[in-house]
C-alpha cells in the first residue's frame, strides 16, 4: 500500500507524504494533456487496448456459462436416459478453445497497453526532468532567493518520479476498471435482470459501509502523517545537534519530548494500520456478501424454473468482476490526484518567469581591456528597498576595487550586477564603453574570471574541474595553471594525478579546492576579475599560497575584490564599504580613515590596543 511513497534518496525522512491534492485539477489536466500531445495517439491506443482487454475478461464468464450449461445438460440428459446420451465433449472443447483464445488475446491487449503506457510515462518523465534541468539555468538568480534548493531538487526527482509511477498505474487501471465495471454490468443485465439488481444492491450496501469507515478513518491517516513528520523533525534536530544535547545534559529533556510524540504516533499509527489492514478482508467480504446474495436469489430463480444453474455460475464471476473495479477506481483516482499534485508543482516551476531576452542586436563578442564604469546605478533586491543609489564609479585597466563590510552586509551585490546575475533598476554598467545591457549575458561573462569564497567543484576529475566548460584547453595549459597556483606537485603525488576524481572526501583540503578554482580562473584568462578573498578554515601555508595565487591573478586585470585582508584593502584604488546591504562609504584607505566613519570604526575595532 505504501510502495509508491517509498522513500528513495537514502536520507529523506520526510518522504512519506499524505495523498496530496492539486490546487486546480482541471487546469493541471488541461496543461498535462497539452504537454503530452505528442503521445496522445499512443495514449488513446493504450486506452482502447485496455478496454478491449477488459471486454475479453467480461466475455469470459459468458463462455464459462456455456460450458457449464453444456455439462449440466449432459448430466441431466444422462440421468434421464440412463447414460446413453452424455456431454457433448466436442462442443465443450470448441467453447473452451474459443475462450482460451479470448483470454490469450485479452492478456496480449493488456500487456500491449502496459507496454505503451510504461513507454509513454517514462518518455514524459524524461522530458520533464530535461526541461526542469534546463529551466534552472534560464531562471534569474532572483528566483533562487525565495526558493530553496531542496525544493527544486525534489521537483526533479520526487515529483517526476511520482508522476512516472502513478500515471503509469492509474491511466491503465482507470480505463480497464471502467470497462470492467460497465461491461460486467451490461453482461449481467443481458444475462439476468433480477440477479443483476440483487448483485448491484448488495454491492452498494457493502460499499456504503466501507465508505463510512473510510471517511471516519481518514483523520487517523492525516494525524499519522503529521506525527511522523514531527517525530522525524525531532530526530533530525536532536541528531544533528547531539553535541549540544550531550554537553548540556539535554538527553532527558529530548527523551521526554520524543516519548510524547512517539506515544501519540503509536495511537494514530495502530489505528491507521488497523484500518488499512482490514481493507482487504472487507473487500473480500463485499465479494462474499454479493456472492451469497446472488446464490440465494439465483437458487430461488432456478427452483422456480425461471433460469438454469449456468446463470448462477456466470454471475458468481460477474459479481467479482463487478466489485473489483470499484476498489481499483478509487485507487486510481487517488493515484491520479497525486499525479496531478506533482504535475502542478512541475508545471509551476516550468512556468516561472525566465531571464529577460537579450536585447536586439546585442553584442555577442567583445574584447575589452578592462575598463569598467558604473553610471548612476540604482538597484534593490526588492522594489521597496533600494540598496544602491545613484552609484557611479570608474575602474581603469589594472585597478583594484575592494568591497568591505561585515558578514551579511551584501558585498556580493556589486558582483551580481557586474555579472548580470541581477539587472540594475536604472543606470548602466559599461564595459569598455559598451553598456552591459547591450551585450549578451554570455558575452558579459566572457569578460570576467571569477573566484568565489566557497570553492565550487563538482564530482569529476581534477582536470575536468579545471577545464570545466572551456574548449580547446591543452594539458600543458592545465599544468601551467596548476604550476602557477602551486598545485602541480601536489596533484602529481595523487594516485591518479590530474585524473583523480574529486568526491566528497577525496582528501583534498578546503585550501586546495580553492586553489583549483583559481587555476580554473587562470585558464579562462579574461580581462576582468571578480575575487572573494575569504579563506576561512584554511591552514596557514595554503593560505599564503592562495594569497600569492590571487595576487598573481590580479596582475594586469581590473579586479573587484570582496576583501578581507588589510594588505589588499590598503592597496585598493577604491574601497566600497557596505553595511546592511548598502554602500555607505567609498574612497581609499587613508581617505576613509580620515572620514572617521564606519570603516574607521571597523578597522580600529580589529586592531586597537589589547583590552585590559
Amino acid at each position: 500500500m505504501d510502495n509508491k511513497r517509498e522513500h528513495r534518496s537514502g536520507h529523506g525522512p520526510r518522504s512519506k507524504r499524505p495523498i496530496e491534492k492539486p490546487k486546480n485539477f482541471k487546469a493541471v489536466l488541461k496543461r498535462f494533456l497539452h504537454f503530452s500531445r505528442p503521445y496522445l495517439p499512443a495514449i488513446i491506443a493504450a486506452l482502447l487496448l485496455s478496454a478491449v482487454g477488459a471486454v475479453m475478461t467480461i466475455i469470459g464468464p459468458d463462455k464459462l456459462r456455456q460450458i457449464a450449461k453444456l455439462i449440466e445438460e449432459g448430466v441431466t440428459a444422462s440421468l434421464k436416459c440412463g447414460g446413453q446420451i452424455g456431454i457433448d465433449l466436442a462442443a465443450v472443447g470448441k467453447v473452451c478453445l474459443n475462450l482460451a483464445f479470448l483470454y490469450g488475446f485479452g492478456a496480449l491487449c493488456s500487456y500491449a497497453q502496459g507496454f505503451i503506457m510504461a513507454t509513454v510515462t517514462q518518455r514524459l518523465s524524461f522530458t520533464m526532468r530535461d526541461m526542469i534541468s534546463g529551466k534552472i539555468n534560464r531562471l534569474p538568480l532572483k528566483y533562487f532567493d525565495k526558493v530553496s534548493y531542496g525544493d527544486v531538487l525534489s521537483r526533479v526527482t520526487n515529483d517526476v518520479d511520482t508522476i512516472g509511477q502513478t500515471l503509469n498505474m492509474s491511466i491503465g487501471q482507470l480505463t480497464s476498471a471502467f470497462a470492467l465495471f460497465f461491461g460486467s454490468l451490461i453482461m449481467m443485465l443481458y444475462t439476468n435482470v433480477i440477479l443483476t439488481l440483487v448483485a448491484v444492491l448488495s454491492t452498494i450496501l457493502s460499499f456504503a459501509l466501507m465508505a463510512i469507515i473510510m471517511a471516519r478513518s481518514q483523520k487517523y491517516f492525516v494525524r499519522q502523517q503529521k506525527q511522523l513528520g514531527s517525530i522525524n523533525g525531532h530526530i533530525e534536530e536532536i541528531y544533528s545537534g547531539l553535541n549540544i544535547v550531550r554537553a548540556y545534559n539535554g538527553e532527558e529533556q529530548s527523551e521526554k519530548v520524543f516519548s510524547e510524540i512517539n506515544s501519540k504516533l503509536f495511537e494514530s499509527a495502530w489505528k491507521s494500520q488497523f484500518i488499512s489492514g482490514i481493507m482487504m478482508p472487507l473487500m473480500g467480504f463485499v465479494g462474499n456478501f454479493g456472492y451469497a446474495a446472488v446464490c440465494i436469489a439465483g437458487a430461488m430463480l432456478v427452483m422456480d424454473g425461471r433460469m438454469g444453474f449456468d446463470v448462477i455460475i456466470a454471475f458468481m464471476i460477474y459479481i467479482r468482476l463487478f466489485t473489483q473495479p470499484l476498489g481499483q477506481l478509487a485507487q486510481s483516482l487517488t493515484g491520479l490526484q497525486s499525479t496531478a499534485a506533482a504535475a502542478e508543482r512541475v508545471f509551476e516551476f516550468l512556468d516561472e518567469e525566465e531571464l529577460s531576452p537579450e536585447e536586439q542586436g546585442a553584442v555577442t563578442s567583445h574584447k575589452s581591456q578592462g575598463r569598467v564604469e558604473f553610471r548612476d546605478v540604482c538597484f534593490g533586491y526588492t522594489p521597496e528597498k533600494q540598496v544602491i543609489r545613484n552609484f557611479s564609479a570608474l575602474a581603469t585597466t589594472g585597478q583594484k576595487i575592494a568591497i568591505v563590510g561585515p558578514t551579511g552586509s551584501g558585498k556580493t551585490t556589486i558582483v551580481n550586477l557586474l555579472m548580470r546575475f541581477y539587472e540594475p533598476d536604472s543606470g548602466e554598467i559599461l564595459i569598455h564603453g559598451i553598456p552591459s545591457r547591450k551585450m549578451t549575458r554570455s558575452c558579459v561573462r566572457d569578460q570576467f574570471c571569477m573566484v568565489l569564497q566557497d570553492a565550487w567543484l563538482f564530482e569529476g576529475s581534477i582536470r575536468e574541474n579545471i577545464i570545466y566548460s572551456m574548449e580547446g584547453i591543452t594539458d600543458e595549459q592545465v599544468e601551467s595553471a596548476c604550476r602557477a597556483v602551486g598545485l602541480h606537485h601536489y596533484i602529481r603525488t595523487l594516485p591518479n594525478g590530474y585524473d583523480t576524481i574529486l568526491g566528497d572526501n577525496a582528501g583534498v583540503s578546503a585550501g586546495q579546492r580553492q586553489l583549483i578554482t583559481i587555476a580554473r580562473a587562470i585558464i579562462e584568462n579574461a580581462p576582468l576579475l571578480i575575487l572573494d578573498e575569504a579563506t576561512s578554515s584554511v591552514d596557514t601555508r595554503t593560505e599564503l599560497q592562495i594569497q600569492r595565487s590571487m595576487e598573481k591573478l590580479t596582475e594586469g586585470r581590473t579586479s573587484f575584490i570582496i576583501a578581507h585582508r588589510l594588505s589588499t584593502i590598503k592597496s585598493a584604488d577604491l574601497i566600497l564599504v557596505m553595511r546592511d546591504g548598502e554602500i555607505i562609504e567609498r574612497g581609499n584607505h587613508s581617505e576613509l580613515l580620515r572620514e572617521g566613519g564606519f570603516y574607521a570604526e571597523l578597522y580600529n575595532s580589529q586592531f586597537d590596543e589589547p583590552s585590559a
Binding site: Y103, D130, N137, E237, N243, I244, F266, P281, T407
Partner: protein, 587 residues
C-alpha cells in the same frame, strides 16, 4: 530481523499467538465458504429440495462470511497494535541509544544515516510486521489447507493447478531476477541526477560565469538518459505481471471446467452429480491457492528490503557507546574550573596516526587559554576531549583535579559551557534555547536568561523581535541569521553558569566588533570562569593568558602573544598571514 524480534515483549508474543489462532479461524471459514456454495449447488440440482433448504445454506454461507470477516478484523487489530507498539519501543530504544553515542560512533554511521535508521528503517519494519502477521501467516496456512482440500477431489485438477502455480512462480522469479538488480542501478542514477542538479544549483553563479549552462545540461542529459532507459526496462517488464496473473487465474478456471467435462463424461452414473458440484467448488479453492501464492511472492519480494532495514537498525543497537559514566560521584567542589592535560594523545580507533600527540597544559580558574593552528592541527580535538565527546587514547584529562573519565557524565557536563563552531538551535523560543538543558541547578529564571543574552551581545537583537524572548525559533534556527544564532548559542552556555567555557571556534561567525565586545563582557562579568578558546583569528586570541600553538597534532608553542611572536615560528607565520608586520608592531 530475528534479532530485532527479541525486542518484542511477552505480551506482544502472546498477542501474536492469539492473532495466529484467529488467522486459522479465518482461513477455516474462508475455505468453508465453497462448501456451503456446493451445498447450495447440490440443493438446487437435487429434485424436490425446498426453498427453506436453500435459505438455510445461504444463511450458513453468510454467517461463514461474517465470521471470516470478524476473524480478520480481530487479526487486523492485533497486528496493528503489535506492529505499532513494537515500532514505538524500537524507535525509542534506537533514539536513546543514539543519544548515548559519542562523536566516534556518530561519525562511524554519519548523522543522515542515523536519521534514516531511526525513521524510515523502523517504518519499514513496522510495515513488515503488520503485513507479516496478517498475510505472511495467512498465506501458507491457506495454501496448505486449500491444497489438502483440493487433493482429494481429483488428481487431474490438482495437477492442472500445480502447473499453473509453477508457471506463476517461474514468472515472478524471472521478473524479479530481471528487475531487482536494475533497481539498484536506478537508485544510483537517481542519486546522480540529484547530484548533478544539486551541483548546478549550488554553483549557479559559477555555471553562469563560465557560460557552462550547456555543459551542465549535457551532464544531466547523460544521467537522465540512462535513468530513463532503466526505468523503461523495469516498467515494461513489470507490465507483464498483471496480464499474466489474470491469464493464470482465468486459465485455471477454464482448465478446471474443461478437465471437469471429460471427467464427468467418463464417470459412473452416481458420481456425475458429485463431480459436477466438486468442479464448481474446486475452481474456487484453486483460486484461493493461486491467490495465496501470489501474496506469498509479494511478501518475499518485500522481505529483502526490510531485512536490510533490520540489519541497519541492529547495527545501531549493537554498537556499544564508547563513552560511559564514570563510577564515582564527586561532591561538587564548586567554583574551581581547573583543566589540566597530562601527556594526552588521541587517535581515532583503527587510525594509524595520532591526531594529537603528547599534549600537556594547565588552565587555572579564571584563566583564558586559546588554541590556534591550521586546519587539522588538532585544536578542536583537544577541547572535544574535555566534555568527553571522545576519550583520550593515552594520558589524562583532568577537570578540577579529577580524571574526566571518573565523573558521571552528567556531573562533568554540568561544569562545562560548550559552544560549537556551527551553532545549533532547537525548535522552541529564544528563551527555551537559552535556558536549554539541565544545569543541575533547576530551571533558569527569565532574569538569568536576560543576563546571559546581555553578556552574549544578544539582548539588542532579541529585544527588537516583536515577541522578545518568546520569539519562536524554527527548526535548525533558520529564522535567525548566522551571527544571531551564534550569539544565542553563547548565551545558552552563559546561562548555565559553568565553571569552564569551551569555545570551539565560536567567534568566526561574529564580526570583529561583536567578537571583541563579547570577550570584554565575559572578562568583566564572568571573571571567575575559565575560558578555552579555539580560534582562527589572531585578534581573537591575542589577549589570552596563554596561547597554545598547534601544528600537526603537536604543541609547538605556548605563551602570551608577545612571547610567541618572538620565538614561535608557526605562530608568527599565522599572524603575518592575517596582519601586516606594521600593524602587528603597532598593535
Amino acid at each position: 530481523m530475528l534479532k530485532l524480534l527479541k525486542h518484542m515483549s511477552p505480551k506482544e508474543w502472546l498477542m501474536a499467538l492469539i492473532s495466529t489462532a484467529f488467522v486459522a479461524v479465518n482461513v477455516y471459514l474462508e475455505l468453508r465458504l465453497p462448501d456451503f456454495m456446493s451445498e447450495i449447488t447440490t440443493t438446487i440440482m437435487t429434485e424436490g429440495s425446498r426453498m427453506s433448504d436453500i435459505w438455510r445454506s445461504g444463511g450458513k454461507m453468510l454467517l461463514c462470511a461474517g465470521g471470516s470477516i470478524a476473524a480478520s478484523i480481530i487479526v487486523g487489530y492485533f497486528a496493528a497494535r503489535i506492529a505499532a507498539a513494537f515500532s514505538m519501543r524500537l524507535r525509542f530504544t534506537v533514539f536513546s541509544k543514539v543519544q548515548s553515542f559519542s562523536l566516534g560512533e556518530i561519525n562511524k554511521f554519519s548523522t543522515p544515516s542515523l536519521i534514516t535508521r531511526s525513521t524510515n528503517d523502523i517504518n519499514q519494519v513496522q510495515m513488515l510486521i503488520a503485513m507479516g502477521l496478517q498475510v505472511m501467516i495467512k498465506a501458507p496456512i491457506m495454501a496448505v489447507w486449500a491444497v489438502l482440500k483440493i487433493s482429494g477431489k481429483g488428481y487431474e485438477w490438482t495437477m492442472a493447478t500445480g502447473g499453473f502455480i509453477l508457471f506463476l512462480l517461474l514468472l515472478i522469479t524471472g521478473i524479479s531476477l530481471l528487475i531487482i538488480p536494475r533497481f539498484k542501478r536506478i537508485q544510483e542514477m537517481t542519486d546522480s541526477i540529484n547530484r548533478v542538479t544539486r551541483e548546478n544549483l549550488t554553483g549557479l553563479r559559477v555555471v553562469r560565469a563560465y557560460n557552462a549552462e550547456g555543459y551542465q545540461q549535457r551532464k544531466f542529459d547523460l544521467a537522465n538518459r540512462e535513468l530513463t532507459s532503466l526505468h523503461l526496462f523495469t516498467s515494461r517488464t513489470t507490465a507483464l505481471l498483471f496480464p499474466c496473473m489474470s491469464l493464470v487465474m482465468n486459465g485455471l478456471t477454464l482448465s478446471v471446467y474443461w478437465i471437469g467435462a471429460t471427467l464427468i463424461e467418463g464417470a459412473g452414473m452416481a458420481d456425475k452429480l458429485v463431480l459436477f458440484s466438486n468442479m464448481v467448488v474446486f475452481s474456487q479453492y484453486a483460486m484461493q491457492v493461486v491467490i495465496s501464492f501470489v501474496m506469498l511472492t509479494m511478501i518475499f519480494i518485500m522481505i529483502p528490503r526490510v531485512l536490510v532495514s533490520a540489519k541497519r537498525i541492529n547495527e545501531v543497537l549493537e554498537t556499544p557507546a564508547s563513552v560511559t559514566d564514570g563510577s564515582d560521584f564527586y561532591i561538587s567542589t564548586s567554583g574551581l574550573g581547573e583543566v589540566e592535560f597530562k601527556n594526552v594523545s588521541f587517535k581515532y580507533p583503527n587510525a594509524e596516526d595520532y591526531v594529537i600527540r603528547n599534549i600537556s597544559f594547565k588552565a587555572h580558574q579564571g584563566e583564558t587559554v586559546a588554541f590556534i593552528g591550521s586546519t587539522g592541527s588538532g585544536k578542536s580535538t583537544i577541547i572535544n576531549l574535555i566534555p568527553r565527546f571522545y576519550d583520550v587514547s593515552e594520558g589524562q584529562v583532568m577537570v578540577d583535579g579529577i580524571d574526566v573519565r571518573s565523573y558521571p557524565l552528567k556531573q562533568l557536563r554540568e561544569k562545562l559551557g560548550y559552544i560549537p563552531q556551527r551553532s545549533v538551535l532547537f525548535t522552541g523560543s529564544v528563551a527555551s534555547n537559552v535556558a536549554y538543558g539541565d544545569s543541575g541547578r533547576g530551571e533558569s529564571s527569565l532574569e538569568d536568561i536576560k543576563r546571559a543574552a546581555y553578556i552574549a551581545q544578544a539582548s539588542d537583537f532579541v529585544e527588537t523581535l516583536p515577541e522578545g524572548y518568546d520569539a519562536p525559533i524554527s527548526q535548525g534556527g533558520t529564522n535567525v541569521s548566522g551571527g544571531q544564532k551564534q550569539r544565542l548559542s553563547i548565551a545558552r552556555a552563559i546561562c548555565r553558569e559553568p565553571e569552564i567555557f569551551i569555545f570551539d571556534d565560536s567567534f568566526s561567525a561574529l564580526d570583529f566588533k561583536t567578537d571583541k565586545n563579547l570577550r570584554k563582557a565575559i572578562k568583566s562579568e564572568l571573571s571567575g570562569t575559565t575560558c578555552l578558546i579555539v580560534a582562527q583569528r589572531i585578534g581573537t586570541v591575542r589577549d589570552a593568558d596563554r596561547i597554545i600553538v598547534l601544528e600537526e597534532g603537536n604543541l609547538v608553542g605556548s605563551g602570551r602573544h608577545e612571547e610567541l611572536m618572538q620565538d614561535c615560528e608557526v605562530y608568527r607565520e599565522i599572524a603575518l598571514s592575517q596582519l601586516s608586520e606594521e600593524e602587528l608592531a603597532n598593535g
